[in-house]
Symmetry: C2
Subunit: 359 residues, 2 copies
């Protein structure tokens, strides 16, 4: 069990447009049961539980999802499920969280975990937590790098020194952050063996993060610094009044890429995936005959490599390969599996058509 | 208007397994609204109406469909909608009809029309009826040949003499019936220009057909000949008792291919199709951008040549070509369009799994 000043901060504000029609604004990826009987946010909190108990879990989400998340996480105190007043990016959101936690516990050390990723080997993941929290307690900003298994172009990368040892659990200097590469660069990263996937998991002391903001994002630091402590009954109203003044910027650009005290843990294979598309869900699940993955009652005739999710009915596939078929009461998706990242274009089109009912 | 002794006999007992999930045992192709606001059987009766009024239309179907067909054809007297007591093939069924009509009108001349075909040019079709009925009244068995437009392997063919003139409206000798050919043979038929598609439409005098049965199917003729007239109140019970004794055989094998007095009308292009698959439906409908045909609210992203029928929801297609997507409350089909004739295999599989709810 971790120390009492170690907190888990779950990032659960995502919209998950790439999982239409299953995901909607009111039902995004993090609260879907995509794998087990548990939603991704329940799995996220569950795999932290042996290290960080629910009473030290905080959730960052939006007003629309707050009630459902509270329902799915009954052990997490309701006042620790925070709704951002306005859709901003991760920097203001994490600044707000640092402010709140610091006002409650000046020694607070935060671990930041996206609610919509999957980790197939949770024990391997948990071995990373003590050294990460330790380095953070010592004043570092800590990121987790995952040893790449293929030349993924959909992830950002962390560049470590050449002598990095995957799985060593020793914090190591981060040379650079690299944005999503093209395929050629991704192949070079894979071959070089010292570029790691940026898993979007971070660790820092609340006061260290607030200090970094004062240095790197002074305007944002002033806005957040003017807020009263979380226990103050004016907190909610003042947050609502001022939060939207913060710049819409990710923590990566705002802080990580520019801070001095950034170190990383180079993880080995912990079965991590950010589940960026229906194809990623397909890849993460065990396959049946002919490489089909079916979450429904299905009949396959001369069909292989397909992902089928249509719990309300029988699905028959005839003579088709590598499709994603996802059926809901009001929306049906049929997509080429390898192009399933373009499902977000469906959502854009529905927005343009003002089909609020389907968003 | 035709003579008073001319009757239309609609064959509407088909199960339409190739149109799953839209078609079911209780909802086969002939009663579906596949094109217009009208079902195929309504279209069939409608295009006969200028020649044969509803009071001289008779329908051959089964017990399961009788009520729905009566509902769809309110102008057809209810006692003229006949349910075969047992699923036999077309020969016993047409023998029963000939017996019934002959018992009511000894001069009856019957035109037999499948309920589940489409004819895009009904005026051209109707021009065939007077010469066909005339040749039948003179004692011939008359078939309709349709000039082929492509080397179709899914149809039977009628071989005429080489000097046949499509659209001439002159009855001409039928040399041979040819079963569904392989592609090479079908191409030869198309090039030879004197092989015509067998449209499954026939004309004969009731007494001529009964005489042909006595000669070619003596056992069946005895069974049917022992029935009382249709007006006799014992008719239904005796039919039920004896009908299943008839051989399960098509009228093509039982009579047409072996009778002497068979002639044909060589029709030109009357826009006829037997709608044997979802692909045939796709081919028969006007196409939208990228060759997509949608009967639903649909979004196409980088997708072409698809047929979409999902009236209850929005369908999004992403990066897919030449698919058939048909959605119902309890069944969803996704098939390669050119292999949609294999949809009947889905029904066979569901039968093997005893999924009566989906049949």
């Amino acid at each position: 069990m971790a120390k009492k000043n170690q907190y888990g901060l779950i990032l659960a504000g995502g919209r998950g447009t790439r999982f239409w029609p299953r995901s909607r604004r009111s039902n995004p990826k993090q609260i879907l049961r995509l794998f087990s009987g548990q939603s991704l946010i329940q799995e996220t909190v569950g795999r932290l539980r042996p290290v960080i108990p629910p009473e030290r879990i905080w959730v960052l989400t939006n007003e629309r999802l707050r009630t459902e998340i509270a329902r799915q996480l009954p052990d997490v105190p309701r006042r620790q499920i925070l709704a951002e007043p306005d859709q901003r990016n991760t920097a203001p959101c994490l600044g707000m969280a640092a402010h709140i936690l610091h006002s409650l516990d000046p020694d607070a050390v935060l671990g930041v975990f996206p609610a919509d990723h999957r980790i197939a080997k949770p024990a391997g993941f948990r071995r990373l937590l003590p050294p990460a929290f330790r380095a953070a307690a010592e004043g570092c900003i800590v990121v987790i790098g995952i040893q790449p298994l293929w030349p993924e172009t959909g992830y950002g990368y962390v560049e470590f020194p050449r002598d990095v040892q995957p799985g060593s659990l020793e914090p190591i200097q981060v040379l650079r952050f690299r944005e999503k590469p093209d395929l050629r660069t991704a192949k070079r990263f894979l071959a070089a063996k010292h570029y790691f996937w940026n898993a979007g998991m971070f660790f820092w002391r609340a006061d260290v993060f607030l200090e970094a903001l004062r240095h790197l994002q002074p305007k944002m630091a002033v806005i957040l610094g003017a807020l009263p402590p979380y226990s103050d009954r004016r907190f909610g109203a003042l947050l609502k009044e001022n939060f939207s003044l913060c710049e819409n910027i990710s923590v990566d650009y705002a802080v990580l890429e520019r801070a001095r005290n950034v170190v990383g843990l180079a993880a080995g294979d912990i079965g991590w995936t950010d589940l960026g598309s229906w194809n990623a869900i397909y890849e993460a699940l065990p396959r049946g005959p002919e490489g089909n993955v079916s979450r429904s009652d299905a009949v396959f005739i001369d069909s292989g490599g397909n992902y089928v999710d249509a719990p309300q009915k029988l699905v028959a596939l005839v003579g088709v390969r590598d499709l994603v078929v996802v059926d809901t009461a009001d929306g049906l998706l049929v997509a080429a599996r390898t192009r399933s990242q373009r499902v977000s274009d469906v959502v854009k089109l529905l927005e343009a058509r003002k089909r609020q009912d389907l968003l």
